[in-house]
Amino acid sequence: MATEQEVNHIAELADVSINTEELVPFTHQFNAILDYFDILDRVSGDTAVTRDLYNVMREDLVEPSLPQEDVLRNAPAQEDGFIKAPRVM
């Protein structure tokens, strides 16, 4: 069972806010889903193996890319050809 505090904590970790009035129903539904996931406790089998898979690599070469103005077009805040982001410190 996840408590309301835990759900809030996870929301903070994920940078997703939950409104106060949403918290109770959200936690209730969250727990109902987690209860359902508990069925996985009964799963047995080998540790997952990956078959028929191999890594696809390419040479680390510069290839044509989008022009700077196209890349910046959707960015809401810009400065001197850079994308402006919130301060980190």
Binding site: A14, D15, V16, A32, Y36, L66, P76, K84, R87
Partner: protein, 433 residues
């Protein structure tokens, strides 16, 4: 042939489209001048692409998805972007930030989801074909609910480059259409190798549907007719399978014991992948502006609370929780074992049969608002998620009606045998129409 264009002015009474293009130029080719709709999570250069989310409102991709490049090269006229559950998270198309799509067969019911707009656009006669995407049934469910045809291709046959990712290891772009022939034609255009998708196979699709299933062995899993499957739906599908027997196929009862865990494995996997994929939406490179004066946590939180709907936030939280310290072994690791068990069950059954058949969905289309509880909505995906977990091809083809609403027959095949599921669906379609 340059300079051709079509005019597209649909009466969109079902809210199938989020964006429509009135005058659409097109070139020559296999699909020359055919109106094709594209689900709104597939990038279209110069055409707004929102994933039905407020967080991408106004986003205009600077490039085309690989499948869209191929559509344009084939002469298709891309007439609009279709409504969906936000980021593909839902089974009803009610989780759209821009209002639900209605089922053309009964406007009191949902079209299914998440590619509900694409299915409704076809069923409502607005376009002949459309692209959808299928992470856990999102092509097949709306195809079944709206009475059209939809194929989830083998994982890797169609490039995901330019598809706005939700759960990379599960999802595929796929064709939807009024007929199996249309679906096959569209598959021929979009399938093939693309080096920009590291999971792309080099297996183009050049098939023309052929009728004839004499000697075909069809596995009938008991789990597809068990608890939770509406008896009326089961009866319609059983009758369709009887028709396939009359056409020369033999049926073999089989069992997929791993189905018991498949839905939980699916939801753990897709929410974990979503929690990582959706971290990119923070109002910096696209979307509503983050307040750059605030600390980045505060700024991102504000943008993401306002921009993401409830179901999207729920899945991000579930995935974050399942991957958080101390829970990884309980949820994600177990889900991957269960996923492997599903693959093994399919491999075992496919060593004895050629295809597997059953209902696409356990019920007919839900009434609007019926699935307000998230878990009960998740449970309705039980018959479609196994194909995504195993990466196998699966098609839904209309096979009759229950309570006046369409029912879909689902045919699943071995990995890479999309041609065979197309042929079985085509044989059935030709026999009943």
């Amino acid at each position: 042939m340059a300079g051709h264009e079509i005019t597209f002015e649909p009466d969109d009474r079902y809210n199938a489209f989020l964006t429509t293009c009135r005058k659409v130029p097109h070139g020559p080719g296999e699909l020359a001048g055919i109106a094709v709709a594209v689900k709104d999570n597939i990038s279209t250069k110069g055409i707004e692409t929102t994933c039905a989310s407020k967080i991408l409102k106004g986003y205009i991709p600077p490039y085309d998805a690989h499948v869209v490049e191929l559509l344009r090269q084939s002469g298709a006229a891309i007439v609009g972007k279709t409504n969906m559950d936000e980021f593909g998270m839902g089974t009803t198309t009610e989780n759209s930030a821009f209002g639900p799509t209605l089922n053309p067969g009964d406007i009191g019911r949902v079209p299914g989801g998440s590619s509900g707009g694409s299915a409704a656009a076809i069923a409502g006669g607005m376009v002949r074909m459309a692209l959808g995407t299928d992470t856990g049934g999102s092509i097949r469910c709306p195809a079944a609910f709206c009475g059209i045809v939809g194929l989830k291709p083998t994982y890797g046959r169609v490039s995901r480059y330019g598809l706005i990712a939700y759960a990379n290891s599960l999802e595929q772009v796929g064709p939807m259409g009024q007929t199996v022939t249309d679906v096959s034609t569209l598959m021929g255009v979009i399938a093939g190798h693309d080096r920009r998708d590291s999971t792309s196979h080099n297996k183009p699709y050049t098939h023309t549907p052929r009728a004839g299933i004499k000697g075909l062995k069809i596995g009938i899993p008991q789990e597809y007719f068990g608890v939770g499957v509406d008896p009326e739906v089961a009866a319609v599908v059983n009758k369709a399978i009887g028709r396939l027997e009359e056409l020369g196929a033999t049926t073999v009862p089989c069992s997929i014991p791993s189905m018991e865990y498949a839905l939980a494995a699916y939801y753990v996997t897709c929410t974990c992948e979503a929690s990582s994929n959706l971290a990119r939406f923070d109002g910096v490179r696209y979307g509503p502006a983050a307040d750059t004066k605030k600390s980045w946590h505060d700024a991102f939180r504000e943008v993401r609370r306002a921009g993401f709907g409830t179901e999207v936030r729920r899945r991000i939280l579930l995935g974050t929780y399942a991957l958080s310290s101390g829970y990884y072994g309980k949820y994600y690791a177990k889900a991957q074992i269960a996923r492997e068990n599903v693959k093994k069950d399919f491999a075992r059954i496919f060593s004895e049969v050629d295809v597997i058949a059953g209902p696409t969905m356990p019920t007919i289309a839900f009434k609007l608002g019926e699935k307000s509880d998230p878990l009960s909505m998740y449970l309705s995906d039980i018959l479609t998620v196994p194909a995504n977990l195993a990466g196998i091809p699966a098609i839904s083809v209309p096979c009759g009606k229950a309570e006046g609403m369409p029912v879909g027959l689902q045919i699943m095949g071995r990995p890479g045998e999309d041609e065979r599921v197309i042929d079985v669906a085509y044989t059935f379609e030709q026999a009943v129409t």
